[in-house]
Symmetry: C2
Subunit: 134 residues, 2 copies
């Protein structure tokens, strides 16, 4: 299955590399349309799936609506605000030891893992304080 180059795919990947939030397919579609007004949402999905399979980007499922995408493929985890749904990258020390702990009672071979941390982000906390004040 030889791949051909495509401007649309490049544009999608570039967009994703230039931002640290983690847009959904639909948001990416809206943005890429500024460069390619005729791009189809199907093309966005197709390429996001392809790039994910190739390991060039990764998919984040928060369990709340649409999937999000991330061009940072190094192992890292996410903090998800349960109020505004924003997803923040979490820079953190290596904790692969959790894999070993998990392995001890695991009915299978663990290849990888993902951690989602949930809470209220600083912006929402600030906003809350402001709201009370006014």
């Amino acid at each position: 299955m030889i791949r051909k180059h495509s401007r649309q795919r490049d544009s999608i990947k570039q967009l994703l590399m230039n931002r640290t939030d983690h847009p959904t397919a639909d948001t990416i579609y809206t943005c890429v349309r500024e460069e390619y007004p005729n791009i189809s949402l199907g093309t966005v999905y197709r390429n996001l799936t392809l790039l994910t399979e190739l390991g060039e980007i990764s998919k984040i499922s928060t369990g709340d609506g649409a999937d999000h995408f991330d061009a940072n493929t190094q192992r890292h985890h996410h903090f998800i605000c349960t109020r505004c749904q924003a997803i923040h990258d979490l820079q953190m020390e290596n904790i692969d030891s959790v894999m070993e702990v998990a392995s001890r009672h695991c009915p299978g071979q663990i290849d990888t893992y993902r951690i989602n941390f949930y809470g209220i982000c600083e912006d929402c906390q600030t906003r809350e304080t402001d709201d009370k004040r006014s």
Copy 2:
């Protein structure tokens, strides 16, 4: 918002408490229909959402298709087979230290976290070996 009791909700929760796999709304619907043949899929979804909000059950999003549900509300994590999609509960030692590690660079207050471990389960590994043999 006072709640009224409902037999259907009881049945859904009971079903979930009697099994350790983690059925989807649709599977739950099929099973509960044996007791309540006229129950509607909407009722299943409504009650699963309600029970989740009340903290009596929890929702598992694997990032692959439909959400799954779990009546075990104690903090635990999951091993997801990337071949057969089975979800296994992972009994494991307390690793809340990861929250502290994460907190150090986290732009907000962490309330909770979820870990999904991914890999091939023993059943699928065995099946693979058998397939090669035959």
